[in-house]
């Protein structure tokens, strides 16, 4: 018998040059998973964390008890928002490549997460997004021009030049400021939800992390506190299979789904087809209704695929097969919703093409306006004295002195 137990070093099923292999994904047939009432006991619905809620089948037909029965108008709006997100991403990605902005991150392939989930919350619900949730900012009226100005760090930048591109905020729409530190927003969302309850309100909170950052302590703190206090919060893991170069197994996804992380705390988990907008909406609405009615937190794992690079600083061809996304069994969320609408007789390829052109025009017009407020290289620029503001509620003396010194060095009088 060996006295040297070997470590298991997780390895993805395919590396560059290999044939993509998603056999590790445990898929349930569309319509096959039961939909329990929102007041079901957590212990009775543990299977939801292990199966996969799917509504759209391979023929694009909605099936089973999780079909949310959304009206055509809402579905077309969801499709429009997903296409808008993708078009915005394409433009901003290109602008980074042209040196107009310093950095960018696309949500390519996982647009249904933000749009499908965003539709399931009330406007008064506070959302704590991660960095690939630009769809939430788009759908909650942040304004493309404002988002572009943030990425440009120009004179209209909502963050006054303090954050890298894509770290948006929108307080009036109840969207928190995005942090570059991973998973820190998870316990904050739980705290916000606790506050809502303490104040006697019925607003809930929601937050997002990726599969990779479920390994962070903050993820586990959030689950513990949410479960302990039965906080009205919906906690979401966007499992897009990749955390930069490490696959979801490196974060511990091989043995049990991320949705099962809360089961030991008595928190329901639901694993859902993250590229099926109907299923995404349905499970999120279920969790939101449960939280709002006092049923406590739910952990949702959205199984999707990161269609692009981690960021503009990343080259995924160095660590995964180039065409892996094409073989992803859950497909492309935009194509699937489009095909569903066509199948139902409510949409056509022509209408879709026209919408794509319209979204492209919208984005180009927004960009044209955004750069009139300045770029990193062209005026108008942000006033450098802003660097010293908002460190504290009121500027203390030592910062006033430093500000004065810098302005003097720069020959600025103000």
């Amino acid at each position: 018998m060996t006295k040297n137990p070997k470590l298991h070093i997780p390895q993805p099923t395919a590396r560059p040059g290999d044939a993509p292999d998603f056999s590790y994904l445990n898929l349930s047939p569309a319509g096959s998973v039961e939909r329990p009432p929102i007041d079901a006991r957590a212990a009775d619905i543990e299977h939801l964390a292990l199966e996969m809620v799917r509504v759209l089948d391979d023929d694009h037909v909605a099936k089973g008890p999780w079909d949310p029965g959304l009206d055509t108008e809402t579905l077309i709006e969801a499709l429009r928002l997903m296409v808008l997100t993708r078009t915005y991403d394409e433009r901003m990605q290109r602008m980074q490549r042209q040196g107009k902005i310093t950095f960018y991150m696309q949500a390519l392939g996982e647009e249904a997460v933000s749009i499908g989930q965003g539709l399931a919350f009330e406007p008064g619900d506070m959302l704590f997004p991660a960095y690939r949730n630009q769809g939430l900012y788009i759908m909650r009226d942040t304004g493309l021009v404002n988002m572009m100005c943030q990425c440009l760090s120009n004179s209209r930048d909502m963050c006054k030049g303090r954050q890298m591109p894509i770290f948006y905020q929108n307080k009036k729409s109840n969207l928190f400021t995005i942090s570059g530190n991973l998973a820190t927003q998870f316990p904050q969302a739980v705290g916000w939800a606790m506050g809502s309850s303490i104040k006697g309100e019925d607003h809930i909170a929601a937050s997002w992390v990726g599969d990779g950052s479920t390994a962070e302590a903050d993820f586990h703190y959030a689950l513990t506190f949410a479960a302990v206090y039965n906080a009205p919060v919906v906690l979401n893991v966007t499992n897009n299979q990749w955390a930069i170069s490490t696959f979801q197994g490196t974060a511990g996804g091989e043995r049990r789904p991320f949705a099962a992380r809360g089961l030991g705390l008595g928190m329901p988990g639901i694993r859902v087809d993250g590229n099926d907008l109907l299923a995404v909406y349905a499970v999120t609405r279920w969790a939101a209704d449960r939280a709002r009615s006092g049923g406590g937190p739910t952990l949702i794992e959205l199984v999707t695929y990161r269609g692009g690079a981690h960021s503009t600083s990343d080259d995924p061809s160095r660590y995964r097969p180039k065409d892996e996304w094409k073989f992803f069994p859950l497909g492309d969320p935009v194509v699937r919703l489009k095909q569903h609408l066509i199948k139902e007789g409510n949409w056509s390829e022509e209408q879709h093409s026209a919408m794509e052109v319209e979204m492209k025009t919208t984005v180009i017009e927004a960009w044209k306006e955004a750069i009139t407020y300045g770029t990193m290289t062209e005026p108008p620029f942000l006033d450098v004295k802003l660097m010293f503001e908002d460190v504290f509620a009121e500027m203390p003396d030592h910062l006033k002195k430093q500000q004065e010194k810098l302005l003097k060095m720069q020959g600025v009088t103000s």
Partner: protein, 338 residues
């Protein structure tokens, strides 16, 4: 007015603020039903309910993280971290989130969290119950840092901290919770019962978060210190037979430079003293500030008396701690320089 210990004064600050402002809540390990391991929140859960004085799981990172969320939602959480030595799991949330939330969101979001934590040695706590990590927090941009030295200030500063829209790290030297300590471990402990700073108003009052206090006026030298060492410095100056001006910094960030400058320019000699380790300690910032502000008035190099650059030991507590005799020696050396 009542004669209070620092524990009673801190409890009274909680009581006043929980009563005055419904958005104030207390949150931390053992602080609810039990009233805190040092009794600083005793009786408050009974009075204000379990939704306002809340027992937390043992997870400092989770406590700080959720407190930030409570603050974003309009509440004013007063968090207790049971010992400063255990604050580090919450450090990322303090450094990366709490301190920079206002800045990164251009003032849209902020979270007015107060983090109270007992610090310092002299209680036989060894390396895990004696640390003075204030210098780690004063190095951040966006949190105010306070260390208190007496019951009157503790209550007034804590009320100011709770009311501040900026996050505040609030250090409470546990050696002086029940009475001042003159730095001579051979003498029996004394209580706050007869100390003038033990006289505390029962109701609401504040002590500003940006003002140092001259606790003793003098002519020969200035001792700049805070926390427990304020009392040690007072006793040491008396023993050394010098007329020392003693400044209690109180709020370490932002620093009241004016009070320190005026005093050192008057006396021409400065000693900086604290319990924390020396290298890159808060005293280094004080020395640099005095050097810049008072250079032409200085009659001797600025002196520093601090803890040694080792972890805090259990067996050698009084060799480690800047005891009265070490300050006396420091004062004499400083006064000998012509």
């Amino acid at each position: 007015m009542s004669q209070m210990s620092m524990i009673q004064a801190i409890r009274s600050a909680h009581d006043v603020m929980l009563e005055k402002d419904p958005s104030v809540i207390a949150f931390g390990q053992d602080i609810g039903y039990f009233g805190g391991v040092f009794r600083c929140t005793e009786g408050l859960q009974k009075k204000y309910g379990e939704h306002r004085v809340i027992d937390a799981p043992i997870a400092e990172g989770g406590i700080v993280g959720t407190a930030i969320g409570l603050g974003i939602n309009g509440l004013r959480p007063v968090v207790e971290i049971q010992f400063a030595d255990y604050i580090y799991p919450g450090f990322d949330q303090i450094v990366s989130e709490l301190s920079r939330l206002r800045y990164r969101s251009s003032g849209e979001f902020f979270s007015p969290v107060t983090i109270r934590t007992p610090c310092g040695g002299g209680i036989r706590g060894g390396q895990t119950h004696s640390q003075s990590p204030e210098g780690i927090f004063t190095h951040l941009s966006g949190v105010k840092t306070v260390m208190v030295s007496n019951p009157y200030d503790a209550k007034g500063l804590l009320i100011s901290a709770i009311e501040s829209d900026d996050p505040v790290i609030f250090f409470e030297p546990k050696r002086i919770y029940n009475g001042p300590f003159n730095g001579d471990p051979e003498q029996p402990p004394v209580s706050w019962a007869t100390h003038p700073k033990g006289e505390v108003p029962d109701g609401y009052y504040t002590v500003p978060l940006d003002k140092a206090e001259i606790v003793e006026e003098g002519e020969d030298l200035t001792i700049i210190t805070y926390g427990t060492i304020v009392h040690v410095a007072q006793a040491a100056a008396k023993k050394a037979g010098v007329s020392a001006e003693i400044i209690d910094v109180r709020t370490l960030m932002p620093l009241d430079v004016d009070t320190i400058r005026d005093s050192v320019n008057k006396t021409g000699r400065a000693m900086v003293a604290h319990e924390a380790t020396r290298f890159c300690g808060y005293g280094a910032e004080l020395v640099a500030t005095i050097q810049k502000e008072c250079f032409w008035h200085l009659e001797a190099p600025i002196s520093r008396v601090t803890g040694w650059d080792t972890p805090y030991p259990h067996a050698f507590e009084w060799q480690y701690f800047p005891v009265q005799q070490r300050l006396v020696n420091g004062i004499r050396s400083l006064m000998e320089i012509e």
